[in-house]
Amino acid sequence: MLSQRAAQQALRRLAVQRPAYRYIVPAAVTSSNALVSQRRLAATANLSEAQATDEILAKQRLSRPVSPHLSIYRPQITWYGSILNRITGSILSGGFYMFGALYLVAPYLGWHLETAVLAAAFAKWPLVVKFPLKAIVAWFFTYHSFNGVRHLMWDMASMISNKQVNQTGWAVVGLSTVAAVGLALL
């Protein structure tokens, strides 16, 4: 009896063709009063796919942590020696370049950079200035030279273990210092 009536009602509803959501949504929600009271307060925004993938990712990348600076590394002869090689080399080359370029423009500026003039001027300097200056310039030269030989040894894949790199690093420091003092005494 009951099942018969249920089947009848279902048939009647199909005949009327009401939209499907009417069956799913409870009656309380479909009335206008209920809609106001059940408003969701979570903020949402429409995003295009490009915004979702690129803009948000770009914004996240901007707030990524910055990798720490050199100061976090323990001072070691390996990397100190390496950067010293570059520093000494660029100072030597910088000075070499500067003299070459200045020698070219000197006649137009009225400067005298001839060897004889420079030697005569340098000869008048006091020894306390000359000796340290010569020692420093000589050390840049000897350090870069000896460390260059060290680099060429590595290029032939020798002396390349951690221990050897440390030993040769200090050996280069010692050798270049002795050689620089020797050259400054000339």
Partner: protein, 200 residues
């Protein structure tokens, strides 16, 4: 460990009311740290995670995402012209600099041809050195204009400096002899040589 060197930040992160601080300072240091960690785990984590000073040396540029987030890296076909020949040339040049640098120490000075060769080798060696410094510290994607200016400036410098040393070699005493005379200027062992250079 390193956070212990920055007590100011730790103190700030763990800033507690006077009453609890009085309690905690009287306890054993080890227990105190434990107690504080329990009290404000987030603040402690933040204070101890970053162990070095935060210095934004180069702030991040506006980020651009090319392709999708999960694209594979494009790998070019290996070719010796991409650097292998350059590498070999650099080593040959560097190795060649050794005898020509030692020669004036043994012989006193160099003949004009060898002196010119030494200058040329030093200029090319310097060009390669400056080029690698530019490549290492000035990425194209960050400073494209500066990079381009310096790369061309490096090429220009080769010619300007080369011209300068051409003038020096043709009008003066030569690089090795010149360095020797300036180096020994005024020293007692070679007062005669410096005076002779003055007259020449």
């Amino acid at each position: 460990m390193a956070s212990a060197l920055r007590p100011a930040i730790l103190r700030h992160a763990l800033g507690a009311p006077a009453s609890t601080r009085a309690l905690t300072t009287s306890a054993l240091p080890a227990f105190r740290a434990h107690h504080l960690a329990q009290r404000s785990p987030l603040a402690l984590q933040r204070a101890t995670f970053q162990t070095s000073t935060k210095r934004a040396i180069l702030p991040a540029l506006p980020q651009v995402i090319r392709g999708t987030v999960n694209d594979p890296v494009t790998v070019r076909d290996a070719d010796p012209t991409h650097g292998s020949y350059h590498w070999t040339f650099e080593r040959i040049l560097s190795a060649g600099l050794i005898p020509i640098t030692l020669a004036p120490f043994a012989a006193g000075s160099l003949s004009p041809v060898l002196d010119g060769a030494l200058i040329g080798m030093i200029i090319v060696h310097s060009y390669i050195g400056f080029e690698s410094i530019i490549t290492d510290y000035l990425p194209k994607w960050r400073v494209p204009i500066t990079r381009r200016i310096l790369e061309w400036g490096n090429v220009l410098a080769v010619f300007v400096v080369g011209w300068g040393y051409y003038e020096f070699e043709t009008n003066d005493v030569g690089l090795t002899e010149g360095i020797k005379r300036i180096w020994r200027a005024g020293s007692s062992s070679s007062s005669s040589s410096s005076s002779s250079s003055l007259t020449s």
